[in-house]
C-alpha cells in the first residue's frame, strides 16, 4: 500500500508549490488515473511514489509518503523500486544497451533476480508490449511509440507490486493503445496497483478506473469514480479537459 499524507512540495528555485496538500492511498489491485493540464503536477506526483522526491529533486517537502509502511525518506530509491515501478514520460533517457532484450533485463538484474526468473520476466514483459520479435534490435532504432512501449516493458519486467506510468499513450496507434489497455487490465486483475497519468481520457474510460484524480495547479480538485467525474462535463471543460465523447453527448441530450 502506498499512502501519501498531506504532501506539499515546492521545487528549489520555484515560488509556487508543484503539489499542495495531496492525500492519496493506493492499494494492490487499485487502478488510479491521474489527469490534468500540462504543468498541473502529474509527473511530480509520480516522483513521490518511489522516493525520487525528496531523494533526487531538491526542494521543500511537507507531509510524508509511506510505501508498505516505510517512509520514503528512510529508504533508498533503488530499494523502493523493488515495490514501485516508474515509467517516465520520455523513454529515451533510460536506453543504453545494445539490444532491446538486454535493455529490459537491466532492471531485473539490478534487483538481483535469478537467471530463470529474469528470462521469464523479460520475455513476458516484451510480449505484453508486442516487442518480443524486436528483441535483438537496438533500442535507438525503434520508432517513438515503440520506444515508449519498450520503456514500459523495462519496468514491467521488474515485477513490482505497483506500476506508475507517465503518459503511456503518447505516440501510440490505436492498436497499441488497445493492447496497453489489456496489459493494464491484466495487471490489475493480478492484484497489482496501477497508476496511469494521461491526457487521453477517451482511452482510459474503457478501463473503468476505480478512481480518477483531477489535478489543477498542484491541487487535487476532483476525485472519484471515472464516470462520475466524466459526467461533470462542465467542470472538466473549465479545467481545460475534454471528456470522452459519449459523456458530452449525454450532457447535450440532458440539456435539451
Amino acid at each position: 500500500m502506498i499512502e501519501i499524507e498531506g504532501v506539499t512540495f515546492t521545487y528549489e528555485g520555484s515560488s509556487k508549490p508543484a503539489l499542495s496538500d495531496v492525500n492519496l492511498r493506493i492499494e494492490e489491485g487499485d487502478f488510479l488515473l491521474v489527469t490534468g493540464l500540462s504543468g498541473s503536477g502529474k509527473s511530480t506526483l509520480l516522483r513521490l511514489l518511489n522516493g525520487l522526491i525528496p531523494h533526487f529533486y531538491r526542494g521543500k517537502m511537507e507531509g510524508r509518503v509511506l510505501v508498505d509502511g516505510i517512509d520514503t525518506r528512510e529508504a533508498s530509491v533503488a530499494s523502493l523500486s523493488k515495490k514501485v515501478g516508474l515509467v517516465f514520460q520520455n523513454p529515451e533517457h533510460m536506453f543504453f544497451s545494445e539490444s532491446v532484450y538486454e535493455e529490459v533485463s537491466f532492471g531485473p538484474k539490478s534487483l538481483g533476480m535469478s537467471k530463470e526468473e529474469m528470462e521469464g520476466a523479460v520475455r513476458w514483459a516484451l510480449e505484453q508490449v508486442g516487442l518480443w520479435d524486436y528483441r535483438m534490435r537496438s533500442p535507438w532504432s525503434l520508432s517513438g511509440g515503440e520506444k515508449k512501449r519498450l520503456s514500459i516493458a523495462c519496468v514491467l519486467a521488474m515485477k513490482t507490486d505497483f506500476l506508475a506510468v507517465d503518459e503511456p499513450t503518447i505516440g501510440q496507434d490505436s492498436l497499441s493503445k488497445e493492447s496497453l489497455l489489456l496489459t493494464f487490465k491484466r495487471l490489475r486483475e493480478e492484484g497489482k496497483g496501477v497508476v496511469v497519468v494521461t491526457h487521453d481520457l477517451e482511452w482510459l474510460d474503457d478501463l473503468h478506473p476505480d478512481e480518477l484524480i483531477l489535478l489543477s495547479r498542484g491541487k487535487v480538485i476532483e476525485r472519484g469514480p471515472s464516470d462520475m467525474i466524466f459526467s461533470s462535463v462542465r467542470d472538466l471543460a473549465i479545467n481545460g479537459l475534454i471528456p470522452p465523447c459519449k459523456y458530452i453527448l449525454s450532457t447535450l441530450v440532458e440539456v435539451k
Partner: protein, 254 residues
C-alpha cells in the same frame, strides 16, 4: 562529493530580473573582469578580503545568494583539495586560506555574472569584441544547452535509479564503471540534440545572409556609469593597497 549536476549549475543562467541583470552587458562584463583581476594581482590575504567585501553590493543587486551558495557547495571538493595542497607545499596557513579566498572570490564573481546575464547578451558582447559570429554563436548555444543537458542528466539518473540501479556503490573504480548507464544515454542524447539543432538552424536559413539583423538595443544608464566608476575605483584601490603595503607577486601565481 563531486556532484555533476551541481557543477553544471555554475554555468546555468537564469535570466531572473534584478537591478544587476538590467545593466548594460559591457558594464557587467567589466565588473566581472575587475573581480577576476583583483584577487589575482596579489596573493595577499588583505586583497582577497577586500575583493570579497567589495562584491557584496553586487551580490545584493543581483539576488544571487542562492546561486552562490550552490556554486560554492559544488566546489567544496576543490576548495578542500586546494587548502590541503597549499598547506602541504608551503606550510603557511595564512597563505593557504588566502588562496582559498581567492578561489571563492572568483567563483562568486562568475556566479554573479552568470546569474544576471542572458546567454544572448554574452553573444552580443562577443560580437562587440569583434569575435566572428559563427564563434560567438556557438559559444552562446553551448551556454544555452547547459541547463538542458543538466535536465537530461537528472532525468537519466532518476530513470536508472527507478530501475533499481545504485549509482553510488562500491569503491572508486566500481563507481566509474557504474557511470556507464548514465553516460551512454547522455552522449547519445547530446549528439541527437546537436543534429536536431543543426536541422532546425538550416530550416531557419541560418548562414544564408552575411548581414544579420540585431534587435537588441543596449542603453547606457546612469547606473551603468556609476557601476563602471565603482569598478574603476576598486581597481585603483586594489592597486594602491598592493603598491603601498605589499610587494606585487607574479600575476597568475596560484
Amino acid at each position: 562529493m563531486i556532484d555533476p549536476l551541481s557543477m553544471l549549475e555554475i554555468f546555468r543562467s537564469y535570466g531572473r530580473e534584478s537591478t544587476y541583470s538590467k545593466l548594460n552587458p559591457v558594464t557587467k562584463f567589466f565588473l566581472f573582469v575587475v573581480f577576476i583581476i583583483i584577487p589575482l594581482i596579489s596573493p595577499s590575504i588583505f586583497i582577497q578580503i577586500f575583493s570579497l567585501l567589495m562584491q557584496i553590493p553586487l551580490i545584493i543587486m543581483s539576488h544571487s545568494t542562492n546561486r552562490i551558495t550552490r556554486s560554492l557547495r559544488a566546489s567544496t571538493f576543490f576548495i578542500i583539495i586546494l587548502i590541503i595542497l597549499n598547506y602541504l607545499t608551503t606550510f603557511n596557513i595564512i597563505f593557504s586560506i588566502s588562496m582559498v579566498l581567492r578561489l571563492i572570490g572568483m567563483i562568486i564573481a562568475s556566479a554573479i555574472f552568470m546569474t544576471g546575464t542572458d546567454p544572448a547578451e554574452i553573444g552580443d558582447l562577443l560580437s562587440k569584441l569583434r569575435i566572428p559570429f559563427q564563434i560567438s554563436f556557438s559559444f552562446v548555444i553551448a551556454l544555452r544547452f547547459i541547463p538542458v543537458l543538466a535536465d537530461d542528466v537528472m532525468m537519466i539518473i532518476t530513470s536508472q535509479a527507478s530501475r533499481g540501479y545504485e549509482i553510488e556503490k562500491g569503491g572508486f573504480l566500481e563507481r566509474v564503471k557504474r557511470m556507464i548507464p548514465i553516460l551512454i544515454p547522455m552522449i547519445i542524447i547530446a549528439i541527437r540534440r546537436g543534429h536536431q539543432l543543426a536541422e532546425a538552424l538550416e530550416t531557419k536559413a541560418f548562414g544564408v545572409s552575411d548581414k544579420r539583423t540585431s534587435y537588441m538595443r543596449y542603453r547606457v544608464n546612469l547606473l551603468d556609469l556609476l557601476m563602471v566608476s565603482y569598478g574603476l575605483l576598486i581597481l585603483i584601490a586594489g592597486l594602491l593597497i598592493v603598491t603601498t603595503h605589499l610587494e606585487i607577486f607574479p600575476l597568475l601565481q596560484l
